[in-house]
């Protein structure tokens, strides 16, 4: 196909583990077909051929933790017709947002012998705190089938079909017996679907890596957790993890502060 008529895709990385952009390379069956349909114009993890913008779709992984990155995301927004965040870091600040609850200078000193060499912001923030975002794909990591759906939808000019209900619905769909009724504390009732309810199918409770569902009742779930023997400390920790800065999880963890 003529390169000039192909939609142009860019993939960008900020503070992250690379797992969400790896999801694209993990589409082993679809990758070569995808590359025939769209122009992968800028994807540094996969290619040293980098074409300048503008881009039809930018996928952004990672959170903003340096002044340089705060400037870089503004430049990327200017070059991007559509901008989609992929994963918990880009969407909510990620696990590295645990610094937001501490003194970052103390964190630097705990890890590095020469703190003066380290340039970092006091906070890890979501992409949406810096630039307008067209769609946020949740998950730590994202689901690659959902990623392909989001790419297809944006290139076709339609809304992505990504359900905002809870993990509970996915357990029902796959026929997994509820682990909560068997006494295992689970974040499934308040957690955004998308993983396919993996944890309960492995006989453990959901730990919330897909972040909050639409309108979650975290307070009611916290009471159920207490009834199952969880301490206030346990509840604070489980909400303050991979999506700690997502508003409903932030409020629930704060409600269990000492």
């Amino acid at each position: 196909m003529d390169d000039r008529r192909q939609p142009r895709l860019a993939v960008w990385k900020f503070a992250s583990c690379d797992g969400c952009q790896l999801s694209l390379l993990d589409c082993e069956d679809e990758l070569l077909d995808l590359a025939g349909t769209i122009k992968i114009a800028n994807f540094l993890e996969a290619s040293s051929a980098v074409e300048p913008g503008p881009y039809d779709l930018s996928l952004v992984e990672g959170s903003i933790t340096t002044e340089h990155d705060a400037q870089r995301i503004r430049e990327i927004r200017l070059q991007s017709k559509h901008l989609v965040t992929i994963g918990a870091c880009a969407t909510h600040g990620g696990i590295q947002a645990l610094r937001n609850f501490a003194d970052v200078r103390e964190f630097v000193a705990a890890v590095y012998a020469s703190p003066e060499y380290i340039n970092t912001l006091a906070t890890s923030t979501a992409i949406s705190a810096h630039v307008p975002v067209d769609f946020e794909l949740q998950g730590c990591p994202i689901n690659k089938t959902q990623l392909l759906e989001v790419i297809s939808a944006f290139l076709a000019g339609r809304k992505p079909a990504v359900p905002a209900h809870s993990v509970c619905i996915e357990c029902k769909q796959r026929g997994t017996v509820c682990v909560m009724v068997q006494g295992t504390a689970c974040l499934g009732p308040v957690t955004h679907a998308g993983c396919g309810a993996i944890c309960p199918s492995y006989r453990r409770g959901c730990y919330g890596c897909y972040g909050p569902m639409e309108t979650p009742n975290t307070a009611a779930l916290a009471r159920e957790w207490r009834a199952l023997g969880a301490t206030r400390h346990d509840i604070r920790r489980v909400f303050r993890s991979f999506n700690a800065m997502a508003e409903p999880f932030l409020q629930e963890s704060a409600a269990h502060d000492d």
Binding site: C17, E28, I40, T65, Q96, Y112, Y202
Partner: protein, 429 residues
């Protein structure tokens, strides 16, 4: 005095963000510095105060490409601190899931990130137009590695099934049968990959590395062993800090690891292979010989062959583990927390990944220290760049840039992991 500047701000086909600065003065290469500007995420700081049970899920997020390495080093360290031993089929399942990570991570690097360097393509997609069968076969191989990870771990990136003491759920024999069939095909695909990469043009380049890897009494190392080198290191993993230290240098957010007595050392496939050649199955040793490898390989460009050899090994080992598998009665052994310090060291695809945790009596982490493989290799990468770059100093910038980028990619650097870990610039004065 002549002055030229070459700059590569973002290195491609590496995991994470880094750059390279080369300083050339009057036609002589005088310095090579690998900069890692991957922003720090402070895992060791925020792990303090977290529970031991959360640790495998948290440390997985250090690296999306090798989460099992972090999970395995962590669970071994936790069990070491609490006096728990995991044996039998649970131990075998840990080895099996690690085989899955080696297959997918090595296949990703060999085909998608490294092979294009040797054949002159910007990426695997462009390479696939001329080498379609090789790329498709390797993608199938990578997929089988991911399938194995997903079966045992729940998903390929940040698996959910690993816990201190074992697993949340263990598979039935019948669940492993379909993956065994795929692994038999993967074994043949991996042999094909070894034969293909062995035909690549390799620079005539060797260095006298100090190789460091785990060595086990009778296995090619994955989860356990003593830390050994080809000089005089032979220590328990708990004694790592007596021989190794981390230094913080100004141009990098990665800490550089060095041997206290001798400086730079090398971890990863070349080191594992050189120190454990005798632990490889006879058929894999014969294949290495057919591919032109001796029992020790000191040419870092040929690491691509060694990685392919390790994929063959991982397929064979996985098939052996599956053939011998009997489901254990319990998915995990009980772990009761106690105050103490524990150590874990396992062979990530890129080399040893060392963890130390101190725990409170209730299993809360008091301190954490994590040494990833790429941080350990960074001084060796810089030494390679000096040695590779020196004879090229009068060549055009794009020749130097290409060869230096290739030199860095020889290490499959996982920069996201290494922050505590690159920009390419050549400064000529």
């Amino acid at each position: 005095m002549t002055t030229r500047t070459i700059r590569v701000d973002y290195l491609a086909r590496v995991e994470g963000e880094g750059a390279l600065d080369l300083h050339i003065s009057d036609g002589r290469l005088v310095a090579a510095a690998l900069s890692i500007f991957e922003p720090p995420r402070f895992f060791e700081a925020f792990l303090r105060g977290r529970g031991y049970n959360e640790t495998p899920d948290i440390v997985a997020r250090i690296c999306g490409i090798c989460p099992i390495a972090y999970q395995m080093s962590a669970v071994h360290a936790i069990e070491n601190a609490f006096g728990v031993t995991v044996g039998g089929q649970l131990r075998a399942l840990r080895r099996l899931i690690y085989c899955g990570e080696w297959i997918e991570s090595h296949a990703l690097h060999v085909v998608m990130l490294h092979a294009p360097d040797f054949l002159g393509y910007p990426d695997a997609i462009a390479m696939a137009r001329d080498h379609g069968d090789a790329v498709r076969s390797s993608l199938a191989l990578k997929k089988t590695g991911n399938d194995l990870l997903r079966l045992l771990g729940g998903r390929e990136i940040h698996p959910v099934n690993v816990r201190p003491g074992g697993f949340y759920r263990v598979p039935q024999r019948s669940e492993l049968e379909p993956i065994a069939e795929k692994l038999k095909q993967a074994y043949d695909q991996a042999i094909g990959l070894v034969r293909w990469v062995a035909t690549f043009p390799f620079p005539d380049f060797e260095r006298d590395y100090e190789f460091v890897a785990l060595r086990h009494a009778d296995e090619y190392p994955l989860n356990e062993g003593r830390l050994v080198s080809n000089r005089d290191i032979d220590i328990d993993i708990a004694d790592y800090e007596s021989e190794f230290e981390e230094r913080h240098v100004a141009h990098s957010t990665a800490l550089h690891s060095l041997l206290k007595r001798r400086g730079a050392y090398l971890v990863g496939p070349l080191a594992r292979y050189a120190l454990n050649f005798d632990r490889l199955p006879a058929a894999v040793r014969a294949l290495a010989a057919e591919a032109g490898l001796a029992a020790v390989c000191k040419n870092p460009f040929r690491s691509i062959i060694v990685r392919a050899i390790e994929i063959v090994f991982a397929c064979e080992e996985a098939l052996r583990l599956i053939a011998d598998y009997e489901p254990p009665k319990e998915a995990s052994v009980p772990t009761e927390p106690r105050a103490g310090v524990g150590f874990g060291c396992t062979e990530a695809p890129r080399g040893i990944c060392w963890h130390r945790y101190a725990f409170e009596a209730d299993g809360t982490i008091r301190t954490a220290r994590i040494v990833p493989p790429t941080a350990q290799n960074q001084p060796s990468i810089e030494a390679d760049l000096m040695a590779v770059g020196a004879p090229l100093a009068s060549e055009p910038d794009d020749v130097i840039r290409h060869r230096c980028e290739q030199t860095i990619r020889n290490y499959d650097p996982c920069i996201s992991c290494s922050t505590h870990f690159l920009r390419l610039a050549v400064h000529r004065t």
